[in-house]
């Protein structure tokens, strides 16, 4: 386990890395021409990155999270309210996880 001094160092460094990524893209984008290939990559990438993030997250999380995600999508489509979609998704994941635990193992 890291010491307290090491922990502080790790937190500070990781904080700097995180902020560098948040601000770095913004600064880098100003260096490229608005219609060049890099600008197009930067514009098109976020949606694809989120899809990849979601796919891996769902792959690793198991069926309760998959069920909750699908319910969130449907509720969002119906209500256009993030809080309703997340609330229903949260409840579905909790209930599905409880159901999984209550099943006899083996």
């Amino acid at each position: 386990m890291p010491t307290e001094r090491d922990t502080l160092l790790i937190i500070c460094v990781l904080g700097c890395v995180s902020y560098s990524l948040r601000a770095g893209g913004y600064i880098a984008a100003s260096l490229f021409p608005a219609n060049g290939i890099w600008a197009r990559i930067l514009k098109l990438a976020p949606g694809n990155l989120f899809v990849a993030f979601t796919a891996v997250g769902l792959w690793h999380s198991g069926w309760p999270v998959l069920a909750g995600s699908l319910c969130s999508l449907v509720i969002m489509k119906l209500t256009q309210r993030e809080w309703a979609a997340l609330g229903v998704g949260f409840a579905v994941v909790a209930l599905a996880d409880l159901a999984t635990r209550s099943l006899p193992s083996g």
Partner: protein
């Protein structure tokens, strides 16, 4: 500090109080959802033996559920700082592209105003700000307004989770870990660009899962996302 960012030069920079208020109100539910996720990370930090100021500082400085969860998994093995930095870059690389995207939305806003706001950039606030801009209301103040409940929920939840006598187990804990993924799933359709999104999105999903299975989960998101982006760029898709 917030008022200082919002105030001056409203004609050139649309940093209006109205935009801030709209963002703040729209993101209020995230006070709860980020709070729940923050509680889970706070409980986990207490379990690792971090003290309360360090736990809170972690969530303030890094402010990223995915990166903090990955680092959390590495903590007991005491990996090198470089390994943690690489994991942080891999999980947060999307911020590079999200920040770049915001540059094109807010090109008239001076850097000295945008750079502090970007400290609070998160997945949900980015989605909401881009959707707001596409509805004809471009406002960095909206991004800042969204961020306040989100940061407050995340950091407040971390502190609360640290102090509460809870264990990071059970159905509620599993449901809490769903929330960071859940809000991306919920807001992802705002990025859908019709039938032309099928191929790049499918490629992103398939490649990321294959990389996660065959190589490494940490980098899979970046590799998968770039595969889909390459298809979009090669086809000359418009954003």
């Amino acid at each position: 500090m917030l008022m200082g960012i919002i105030a001056a030069d409203p004609a050139r920079t649309p940093l209006t109080l109205g935009g801030f208020r709209r963002g703040f109100l729209a993101a209020l539910p995230f006070l709860f959802s980020n709070g729940i996720s923050g509680i889970v990370i706070g409980v986990a930090y207490r379990g690792l033996g971090l003290d309360l100021p360090m736990a809170a500082l972690f969530s303030i400085a890094v402010y990223s559920g995915t990166a903090q969860a990955v680092i959390l998994g590495m903590w007991p093995t005491t990996p090198s700082l470089v390994a943690m930095m690489l994991a942080c870059v891999a999980t947060n690389a999307r911020y590079l592209f999200m920040g770049a995207h915001l540059r094109h939305l807010f090109d008239a806003v001076p850097r000295r105003r945008m750079l502090p706001i970007l400290y609070f950039l998160a997945d949900a606030s980015w989605f909401m700000t881009v959707a707001e801009a596409e509805a004809g209301r471009r406002s960095p103040a909206y991004l800042l307004g969204c961020s306040v409940p989100m940061v407050t929920g995340w950091v407040g939840g971390t502190v609360l989770g640290y102090l509460l006598p809870m264990k990071p187990q059970g159905a509620l804990a599993v449901a809490a870990t769903f929330l960071p993924l859940g809000f991306i799933v919920t807001l992802l359709p705002t990025q859908w660009r019709g039938g032309r999104s099928w191929l790049p999105w499918s490629a992103s999903a398939v490649v990321s899962i294959v990389v996660a299975i065959k190589l490494d989960s940490t980098w899979s998101m970046l590799v998968g996302g770039l595969a889909g982006t390459a298809i979009s760029v090669a086809r000359n898709d418009a954003y």
